[in-house]
């Protein structure tokens, strides 16, 4: 026989983990449906008052509020949240590009929660027992809904961020073909393992696509050369060689040279030149081009090997 205290605790626990003790659930749903118009308007008013969703017009806010409200009630009624999750992801997809922030989305969901709770208080204020029972139905579901919408929003944001990061990575590692058989890869900025891997893959595919015989990798702009990045550079050089391309590394500062030696790289084996221009000239020499020191007329003997 459970004591009153035990039953209270049990009910609180059930509520907090989202389990609706749902005898009054139908009443709750009916109440929400019955007062749909005024509750939505109240909510929209509170949203404007709180000065959130400023990126959207009043009409838009009301339209979305209606959708959210109806999804909300449906979720309460059915106890399933997939539709709500899908809707919140769609909603997020629409509003994130408009600059809507996470705190705004969480904020308005909590506002709705409050608006609905207060209307329940108002309705059942005469009967504390009844109020408690309807809250038993409402509280867990409301928590779950707030959670679902917020998480849906955050997941969508993260997906977009990942997409953008990918695009940035691709843009920031251009493999340039400047002459036949010669590729230049200027590396700029921070190299994390993922970017390093992408860099190498892009270069190798570029070597194959352009049939490059010489690659100049310029590391002048690399933000930090630690042993990981250095290792990756060495691997890139070795992998390029497997595709028949010679790699010239330019932009090697004395500090970076030290790092490479420290990790055991035999600099004697790596083809290095001070600066990019020098590297390109060396590359052209390897390819058999004769370089005339007049910049306006780059003279170019066709790629047949004519060693000096």
């Amino acid at each position: 026989m459970k004591s009153l205290l035990e039953r209270d605790v049990e009910r609180d626990v059930m509520r907090s983990i989202g389990v609706s003790t749902g005898e009054m659930l139908p009443d709750l749903v009916e109440h929400l449906r019955e007062h749909r118009t005024e509750l939505r308007e109240e909510w929209a008013r509170r949203i404007t008052e709180a000065k959130v969703l400023t990126a959207m017009s009043d009409a838009e806010i009301f339209a979305e509020a209606t959708s959210v409200y109806d999804n909300y009630v449906a979720a309460l009624e059915t106890g399933t949240f997939e539709a709500l999750q899908t809707y919140s992801r769609n909603l997020s997809e629409r509003i994130i590009p408009r600059g809507v922030e996470t705190h705004e989305v969480v904020g308005i969901v909590l506002l709705l929660r409050d608006v609905l709770a207060r209307s329940l208080f108002a309705k059942y204020q005469a009967d504390f027992q009844l109020l408690n029972r309807i809250l038993d139905a409402y509280e867990p579901a409301a928590n779950r809904i707030a959670n679902t919408v917020a998480v849906g929003f955050v997941q969508e944001r993260e997906r977009i961020i990942r997409q953008q990061q990918e695009a940035i990575r691709e843009l920031s590692t251009p493999v340039l073909q400047v002459r036949e058989r010669l590729l230049i890869l200027p590396i700029i900025g921070v190299i994390d393992p993922q970017r390093a891997r992408q860099l190498t893959e892009q270069l190798l595919h570029g070597i194959r696509a352009n049939r490059a015989r010489v690659v100049v990798i310029d590391i002048t702009g690399v933000a930090a050369m630690d042993s990981h990045v250095a290792n990756h550079l060495v691997q890139t050089v070795e992998a390029s060689r497997l595709l028949g391309a010679t790699v010239i590394v330019t932009g090697l500062s004395p500090e970076i040279a030290q790092t490479l030696v420290k990790i055991g790289v035999d600099l004697g084996k790596m083809n290095t030149v001070g600066d990019l221009q020098g590297g390109i000239e060396e590359a052209e020499r390897l390819l058999g081009y004769k370089v005339v020191p007049t910049p306006e007329i780059p003279s170019q003997i066709s790629g047949r090997h004519e060693d000096s």
């Binding site: 949240f81 997939e82 999750q85 993922q194």
Partner: protein, 140 residues
């Protein structure tokens, strides 16, 4: 809500007793990786890891097997490769995985190389019971 992964229960086992089994194991590994949507590069890494692990079994234990399994962790999909043998075992597994370690000359056990290309690497080895290497590669 995490979707049910349709590949959750995909698993196959290749007994490894001769060098020909190495090819079978890595081909099946590559196929599974391709089916799960791994990129060409990642599938090659998986196949290469399986090749090296299978080769170790043949070279040092004589026979064993390779189990390849699809796994999922939330929205992440991956492949687990378990290479088991009942061979003589490795005295000091930690040492064997360090770069450059080699007992038989040439490229040695290749385990340090395998570790570089996978996301997770576990090795259990005992004199009497043999060696089990478990590696995981996630789809990016």
């Amino acid at each position: 809500m995490p979707e049910q992964n349709p590949h959750d229960d995909v698993e196959f086992c290749v007994p490894v007793a001769s060098v020909n089994d190495i090819v079978t194991a890595r081909l099946q590994g590559r196929n599974l990786a391709a089916r799960l949507g791994f990129s060409a590069g990642e599938a090659t890494l998986v196949a290469t890891a399986i090749s090296e692990l299978a080769r170790n079994i043949v070279q040092y234990a004589g026979d064993g097997d390779i189990v390849v399994r699809a796994i999922a962790n939330g929205t992440k999909q991956g492949i687990v490769v378990v290479a088991r043998d009942r061979g003589p075992g490795i005295d000091d597994p930690k040492l064997a995985v360090q770069s450059g370690f080699s007992t038989s000359g040439g490229l040695g056990l290749g385990l340090s190389g395998v570790r570089r290309i996978v996301d997770d690497f576990q090795i259990v080895s005992e004199r009497s019971t043999g060696t089990t290497v478990t590696v995981t590669k996630w789809k990016s």
